[in-house]
């Protein structure tokens, strides 16, 4: 899955987010109303689509959507 598709699929999971807001360089913690619920949505999304488990410290090591995408690719290949 390329970064563009990753964003296209992840964005609708945040049902309260207008379309086109999520960009490769978006610091996802700046999402309006950022909460643990958003983190669970990301973890669930990665689990379903890649069968990869992300934990709290994985998320802590990333800032932007690109960082998140790269982390998933890295975990996929390891």
């Amino acid at each position: 899955m390329l970064l563009e598709e990753f964003i296209q699929k992840l964005e609708p999971e945040f049902e309260d987010m207008p379309k086109g807001v999520l960009k490769p360089d978006t610091d996802y913690r700046t999402i309006k109303g950022w909460s643990s619920m958003h983190a669970l949505i990301i973890i669930a999304f990665v689990d379903i689509n890649f069968n990869i488990t992300l934990n709290g410290s994985d998320l802590r090591s990333t800032k932007t959507i690109t960082d998140l995408y790269n982390l998933v690719q890295q975990k996929k290949s390891s």
């Binding site: 309260d16 909460s35 643990s36 619920m37 983190a39 973890i43 379903i48 488990t53």
Partner: protein, 336 residues
């Protein structure tokens, strides 16, 4: 004689804490879309001077009334909680006196959280199968909201207080509870913890030093702490495996199960687990909207409501599964 679940009732304290109340304390903290995903609209909060045993006694009185139970026939009380009345005596002993159950009954407390109901069923079954008990009163109760830091928004959103009472007795012929699968991982005990105030760590000035997690939840070592992302991953990994193990042990296929009643954490998490296992939506019980996560009582409350609305019927095979603090998990199969 095999053990069966004869009757269930429950009790929720009067004070309500709605999403509107939550929004007044934590404005803009959860969007409408996320509130909908979690599936909770209201929880009940224990009164300042009420204890877990008070809620349990109310649920037992409700049980006696609703199901015409003769309390003179109860020969064992099992009390599952995490908030006991005193260091000693055992709270279940005091409950015996309050419910005016004859003194020939046995009574014990056991300390478990969300997995407590299934462990309680296993203890009751053991007492009936091995010790000749005839009517076991299993009480589960939680007043966890008393332990929350006022600024811990996630916990205050998810959990509610409540208690459930179940009579397990020796029924005819078929084996109606079991088999069981159990699991424990104390290495991850710190994922859900109140660190200070027990025998290991006394309360010190440091206990009340606040810390904030990555999501703006504030707590300290004198209050409840839960690592939400760890517990989410724990549930997603543990429950599907546990269900698979249980089905093998029971010699059943997943489509032979009529109903699945899992510990009601929140709808988002439970729905993820449901999808991972491949359970059809119509066989999966959801009951959290008006009470939140009531810890060890979510399963008996959901089971009681399923029976009441006719979703759970006599003769059905029902799979129960739960996981929580410990970390601890358990699953079993009951036949109504």
């Amino acid at each position: 004689m095999p053990a069966i679940i004869k009757a269930i009732s429950y009790y929720l304290p009067e004070k309500k804490f709605s999403n509107e109340d939550f929004g007044k304390i934590f404005p803009d903290s959860l969007s409408d879309a996320n509130l909908k995903k979690l599936g909770i609209k209201e929880r009940r909060i224990v009164g300042e001077h009420q204890t877990a045993s008070d809620l349990a006694v109310e649920s037992a009185l409700q049980l006696f009334k609703e199901h015409d139970i003769d309390k003179n026939e109860i020969d064992f009380i099992l009390f599952c909680a995490q908030e006991f009345d005193h260091y000693t005596p055992t709270t279940a002993c005091l409950i015996q006196e309050r419910l005016e159950i004859p003194t020939h009954c046995g009574a014990l407390d056991f300390n478990l959280g969300c997995s407590g109901y299934i462990y309680g069923l296993s203890l009751a079954k053991g007492l009936i199968d091995a010790c000749g008990s005839k009517n076991v009163l299993l009480l589960t109760s939680s007043t966890l909201t008393k332990t929350f830091h006022p600024k811990d928004k996630s916990s205050r959103y998810i959990f509610g207080d409540g208690a459930a009472a179940t009579i397990i007795n020796n029924g005819p012929n078929e084996n109606n509870i079991g088999p069981f699968v159990f699991g424990t991982d104390g290495k991850r005990g710190d994922k859900i913890i109140i660190k200070d105030g027990g025998a290991r760590n006394t309360i010190t000035i440091e206990s009340n030093v606040d810390f904030e997690d990555d999501y703006g939840n504030i707590t300290n070592n004198a209050h409840f702490f839960m690592n939400g992302t760890s517990i989410f991953n724990f549930g997603l990994k543990t429950v599907p495996k546990m269900v698979e193990e249980l089905l093998i042990k029971a010699g059943l296929k997943i489509d032979q199960i009529d109903l699945f009643i899992f510990h009601q954490t929140n709808n988002f998490m439970n729905d993820m687990i449901r999808k991972k296992i491949g359970i059809p939506e119509e066989k999966f019980v959801v009951h959290i909207e008006n009470c939140g996560n009531t810890v060890s009582s979510t399963i008996p409350i959901a089971l009681h409501e399923s029976i009441r609305i006719g979703k759970a019927k006599k003769g059905q095979i029902i799979l129960l599964a739960a996981f929580g603090t410990g970390l601890s998990w358990a699953a079993t199969i009951i036949r109504l």
